[in-house]
């Protein structure tokens, strides 16, 4: 039972990460946009959905929990709002940074994500500062006993993943997707063909941000508690880059496989390491994961740049 529960919650997280990896694939894999601020969209999505679905704290609780608003809306509205707000933030970031050279875009987005986290941490009036928000509503939680709830949630996130996967695949195979890939390959050429490069990049950035925002919301309702510490660059950004790079940049199936493999390495290695190492070492042992993930990233980039799948040949449908 314990093992099965572990497996199910592992599957839920891997599915949520698959959604993020697809979001990144839209931006980086197909358009060549270096978004190193995934953690920022992750946080925006999670907090938006939390504030949309939670009630405003009342009574004694109001003394402990501060939040700017609490709309008590349904889960689905929360997730879509998370995507929308994240997309708007993506639009603003795009207006600031899309005209910059690609390397600068990476640094800017990294900094913006870090600033977003610091903002949530400091501005207690907005979402309770470092303590974060707890008790996020979980959809359909009363149809099964609590110990089986993760099965239901796995179905919910899987449904989101399928819809997002099909949507992105269709977009990428359309003429619109072909322009994105043209921009990735040769921006000047695409511009010479009369394509508005900045506008297409913006659409890709915003679509990716929308997907990531929904991913953040799905994570928030699964964890049922969020705090700014979760959205650090390591857990929120770089692990997703490793997933996409491993699975195959420019391939949505690869993105999903990469997410599952990396998340398996991340969560199972702790499990195994803890069984092997002596008690006195147990506080340090989890950091072996940093080395594993780091090495994985370096080895793929240097030796196997295509990842597991690589980009497939695409034939556009007219």
């Amino acid at each position: 039972m314990g093992m099965l529960n572990f497996l199910i919650s592992f599957a839920v997280m891997a599915t949520i990460y698959s959604i993020f990896a697809i979001g990144l694939n839209v931006q980086w894999g197909y358009t060549g946009l270096l978004n190193f601020g995934i953690a920022g969209f992750f946080a925006i999505g999670a907090y938006t959905s939390a504030l949309f679905t939670l009630k405003m704290p009342t009574g004694a609780l109001a003394g402990y929990v501060k939040q700017a608003f609490g709309l008590n809306l349904p889960f689905l509205v929360g997730v879509l709002a998370a995507g929308a707000v994240s997309a708007i933030i993506g639009l603003l970031i795009g207006l600031l940074t899309l005209r910059l050279k690609e390397g600068y875009l990476a640094i800017s987005t990294l900094g913006i994500a870090e600033s977003i986290r610091i903002f949530f941490n400091n501005e207690s009036w907005l979402a309770n500062g470092p303590q974060g928000l707890v008790g996020l509503p979980q959809p359909l939680h009363n149809i099964v006993p609590p110990s089986y709830y993760n099965y239901i949630y796995l179905l919910i996130v899987a449904a989101f993943l399928i819809v997002i996967y099909i949507g992105v695949e269709r977009g990428i195979r359309s003429p619109w997707g072909r322009v994105l890939r043209a921009i990735r390959e040769d921006e000047i050429m695409a511009a010479a063909d009369g394509k508005n490069v900045v506008a297409f990049k913006m659409q890709s950035l915003v679509l990716g941000a929308f997907i990531m925002g929904m991913g953040g919301a799905l994570y928030a309702h699964f964890a049922a508690a969020i705090q700014p510490g979760v959205f650090e660059a390591l857990f929120g950004t770089f692990i997703i880059w490793t997933m996409l790079t491993l699975g195959g940049t420019g391939n949505n199936k690869g993105a999903i496989i990469g997410a599952w493999v990396v998340w398996a390495v991340w969560s199972w290695s702790t499990f195994i390491i803890m069984k092997v190492v002596p008690e006195s070492f147990s506080t340090r042992a989890p950091f072996i994961r940093y080395i594993l993930i780091g090495l994985l990233l370096v080895i793929i980039v240097v030796r196997y740049p295509r990842g597991i799948m690589g980009e497939e040949k695409q034939v556009s449908k007219f």
Partner: protein, 302 residues
């Protein structure tokens, strides 16, 4: 306000020192090294191996002049520098050289450097744990002026060593044959090569200089604050900002950028929560990118 300005200059000096190595590598190899911060952490901890060894052996424990630290730290600079230079060169050989050989885009190197950063941080966590460490225990002497402005005596040392190291590197780059070759390489890689410069050999020099500056910055940063595994990663954010502010490959730019950021971060605490310091660095950086994308002293117009 004067006090914050002094802190700003101290912080700015360390940022300037840290960012010179970063901008040097960026200028010469077109690689934005994300592991630079964690290499600084390694530099700081390498010195810590020796300071704790010295205190176990009970040698070199005499205090240096008016400063809070002992001779052990001064001596520990040397092995820390050697370790840091060796590490920088090895990383280049193992990770970035194959990428250069494959002729892939510099962005790939940037992604690989993130992996390197993780590996280094993981090693630090495993060897030393997440706890804070200090080179020396005890109070740190401060100087108090008659008008109430105070600062730590150590900070004089930090500022002097920072600028001295930067000045030496600057002289090296401008006055020696190797230095000139390096600058030629940064200017135009292919032209440098057909002029008979052994580019791979020069890159070892570039990473060596970066490693040297990284170690000094790490130890000074460790003296100024404390050692913790995330120190370099957190420090990397203002370094990025300083380097972008200064312009790709511009050493003078990085120095000016470093000072501006140090001052801006410290002075901002007069109005903002101190935890907003990294955000201040980024807002300045983004403003510069929008108004003047090549940085204040950038030389490239593309």
């Amino acid at each position: 306000m004067l006090e914050l300005t002094i802190y700003g200059i101290v912080l700015g000096s360390i940022i300037a020192l840290g960012s010179v190595g970063l901008t040097l590598i960026w200028g010469i190899t077109d690689l934005f090294n994300c592991a630079h911060g964690d290499q600084i952490t390694v530099g700081a901890y390498s010195a810590f191996i020796f300071t704790s060894l010295f205190s176990k052996l009970n040698i070199l424990q005499g205090k240096v002049g008016p400063f809070s630290f002992n001779w052990g730290i001064v001596i520990a600079f040397i092995p820390a520098i050697i370790i840091s230079i060796a590490l920088a060169i090895l990383i280049d050989r193992w990770v970035y050289k194959p990428l250069r050989k494959a002729g892939v885009h510099s962005i790939t190197g940037f992604i690989a450097s993130i992996g390197v950063a993780w590996v280094l941080r993981g090693l630090i966590y495993i060897i030393w744990g997440a706890d804070f460490h200090f080179y020396t225990q005890g109070l740190r002497p401060t100087i108090v002026f008659s008008n109430g402005v105070k600062f730590r005596v150590d900070e004089i040392f930090i500022v002097i060593v920072s600028w001295l190291s930067v000045a030496l590197v600057y002289l090296f780059l401008n006055k020696t044959k190797k230095g000139k070759a390096l600058r030629a390489l940064a200017d135009n890689h292919n032209l440098a090569r057909i002029s008979g410069i052994n580019t791979e050999n020069m890159l070892i020099w570039a990473w060596g200089i970066a490693g040297l500056l990284i170690a000094i910055a790490g130890v000074l940063y460790g003296i100024e604050t404390q050692l913790r595994p995330e120190m370099g990663w957190i420090f990397l954010m203002p370094l990025f900002a300083a380097v972008i502010l200064g312009g790709q490959g511009s050493i003078t730019g990085a120095l000016v950028g470093g000072l501006i950021l140090g001052l801006a971060q410290q002075l901002s605490t007069a109005w903002l929560e101190p935890s907003y310091k990294p955000a201040v660095a980024f807002i300045i950086m983004i403003l510069v990118l929008i108004i003047r994308p090549r940085g204040i002293l950038g030389r490239r117009t593309t």
